[in-house]
Symmetry: C2
Subunit: 325 residues, 2 copies
Amino acid sequence: MSVLSEFELIERYFRHHGQSRRDVQLAQGDDCAVVKTTPGTEIAVTTDTMVAGVHFDDKVPARALGHKLVAVNLSDLAAMGAEPAWLSLAITLPKADHTWLSEFSAGMHELAGYYHCQLIGGDTTRGPLTLTLTAQGLLPEGQTLVRHGAKPGDWIFVSGTLGDAAAALAAQRDDLEISSAGQKKLEERLFYPTPRVSLGQALRGMATSCIDVSDGLAADLQHILKRSEVGGRLFLTQLPYSDTLNTLSLEQKRHYALHGGDDYELCFTIPEEMRGSLETALTHSGVDITCIGQIDRQPGLRFFDGDNEVTASGLGYQHFGMATL
Amino acid sequence: MSVLSEFELIERYFRHHGQSRRDVQLAQGDDCAVVKTTPGTEIAVTTDTMVAGVHFDDKVPARALGHKLVAVNLSDLAAMGAEPAWLSLAITLPKADHTWLSEFSAGMHELAGYYHCQLIGGDTTRGPLTLTLTAQGLLPEGQTLVRHGAKPGDWIFVSGTLGDAAAALAAQRDDLEISSAGQKKLEERLFYPTPRVSLGQALRGMATSCIDVSDGLAADLQHILKRSEVGGRLFLTQLPYSDTLNTLSLEQKRHYALHGGDDYELCFTIPEEMRGSLETALTHSGVDITCIGQIDRQPGLRFFDGDNEVTASGLGYQHFGMATL
């Protein structure tokens, strides 16, 4: 496919930045990049696309888009316990806007650089703004975190806090009243999510299942339950919230936490006998985790408010429109 | 990023088809796919995007789009001498049209299956039609074909024939008069290009440089010259044409061959002492190759019609609009 010559300029925003990894034999400049792994290593591969007008609008700064494109992909790597390594970028742009490109690429390189991963290649095309990143990460053989290993009795944990990104979107749409300082804090979580890369690696050999919370805790946890052929109880009173979210009503914050999406926290299951090792392993990961439920044999996800089971309709699900970023 | 539920249907077109490779530990269903290589193997990675209205229009059948998306990526792998292995698809669609999806995925799976490569994952989003594929291939350590190794004295070769795809585009735009049977033959090359996968692998250890011809022979050969810091002479009388292209004027067919693009042949350089081994190695690759020039020290690409040097303007370059698919 031929690339319009104007777009060759763009390469400078992506070619001469960031990490130079020893396992990259060739980066941009040939028909392919060439990388290699060491024996005993497996490779995790993920792809995420963000489309203008669907996944983001004009309110999202270009720097945040660059950050988020990397973050959502690294979050998928984190959910498998992988160490980020290589990125391939496919960017479709209506025009070469140098301010935009400079900000977008800075956002990408900042986060990629922090995790020592290298942009090894990609494609630049003209068209409606669409951003696709393929990220690859490294795993010790046989230590992949998967969705299908949860067992009855395992405890369900989640990292960080939930619901901030969804509340930010609601505030932007005037569906939620909050102070402008509060909105700004929430938007920080929406625009600049933190992939839980260290946590994912710390969970290797301990978690029986793991997923990243991108579509809302309830939906994502149900992926684990379904793939593991188990059920689970969620302790609503244990859901972790940020200080900002704690200023909202119980119904509101539970809704954003359960159904909001875009949190990029990790949800995972831990057998009882691993809980001690978990505490030790997490000292260095720099993120709090909270036990929010337990796996059992009864199919489906059930919600408990203290000792009382609550139905989905009792959670006020239909009171708020579904947030789709 | 949340995916609209309607789009979950789409997975069936991509999940349950094609190869199942032993080096794929996990395919779709988790946050990442997981693959592994054997010791002594390197990985070639390439990404190509095709955008509706820019790289293709309504005249291109969905099956051809699926074929071509795989072909252009495998062509990049071929140019490095890599053996195709894993594909990740990012597809952005305005709506879930089942006839279109069925045809598109069939085109993808047919070609991917022929080369034993597996679709391991990707992302499906709603938005303007944009197709991005990341393809990965395997290489014995240190045997990568690159662009920068051409040496003065090396012979320049090209596989197959040149210019058909560009002539097909010109015919579609009424810039070229040709019989409808002729146009159909040309369109077959435009819609269903053949990546030279076996040839690329056969050239390992023999070719000093290699590139796939996607932007037109002249432009792509100049990438080799520039990266190798050499010059080259092109023997215009040796350019290989299909029977269909041979019905055109000399000026026309030379133009399409040199500047047209979308051929997906391989252009490569071979040292004099390797020419014998080359003939032997190529018996099994199923594609003809033609010697079309020689590398020398004088910078730039120079064109020769017999013994006479011809300037670029003498090649009628400006008589025909540049074809951009």
